[in-house]
Amino acid sequence: MAGSAPRPAPDDPVQEVALWDPLLRGFHWTLALFVSLGWCLGQFGPAKMTLHFWCGYVVIGLLLFRLVWGFIGPAPARFSHFLRGPGAVAGYMRGIFLREPSHWPGHNPLGALSVIAMLAVLAAQVSSGLISDPDDYINIGPLAGYVSPALRAKAVGWHEVGANLVLILVLLHVAMILFYRFWKREDLVRPMLTGRKQVRDRGTD
């Protein structure tokens, strides 16, 4: 979508740059923590789901931060920087099985789809949770009273489907990290911890 994003060419030199800003990294790991915690509490937690609810509220705050950061954050965090058309995605995928690091300066065009899917599914998940009423008189979404009885009952089903989608996306995310680590020999975890990444680019603006 944005034409100005840097496009690495094979002959550009590889250099280590500060790619992920501290707030983005904090967002990522806090989100990972609270989504995991909320998911496990939902699945295996106590019948009274107070802690699960609080995980959801934290996730709402994090999603709002990410939305804002996607417009005003540093370049690699901006949606305009990593959202690309189908052509760019197809182009990136042509080289995906090459046994070499991507050295991509940010979210690559394919990974960007995963980022958007993750944010969208989580937004849907917290929304359905807010209006859910599972008819057990101990767990009622704080906004369930504002929607019709039919809708607040349906939302419980959506929330269940959503939990499965979240699990699938997280497993896919982890699987791709492992794929990059062991097939493409590129460590994507360390950059999300330190912020620094080997990229083929003239810098990150």
């Binding site: 019948a47 009274k48 057990d136 008189y137 767990n139």
Partner: protein, 155 residues
Amino acid sequence: MRQILTAASLAALSLLQPLAAMADDDAIEQAIEARHGFYNMLAINMATLSGMAKGDIAYDEAVASRAGANIEALTHYDLPSLFIEGSAHGQAEDSAAKPEIWTNLDDFKSKFAGLVEAATGASEAVKGGQDKVGPVVGKLGAACKACHDVYREKS
């Protein structure tokens, strides 16, 4: 004569066949309606208790105890007997009963036994102050949830 009688009774039987099927449908429909009635009565009394627990309804010992007693009384009805074959979601209209109920009937019955247990003594347990209601609602709600999670269709 005998042949005529046989033919006539066969004809009568074939006429009765759809009637029998209708009676069957009727039994299913009745069972589902009865289930909904059961849950409605449960819901009315649960709403009273959870309203008091949250402070939305002013605590009244007599009212709370009566709601508790109603719930106890309801759980003395053999609810699983209303889950007759053919009354699952997808088989009958207006049913939220997952088909898994009939493949795990013993587990389903144990979920109801969980509600019976949670309800036991509720009429006494809610006496003595507003703070006594919450734990009772918590126990009952956990029993509701345990069964809804597995055996209630959410669509």
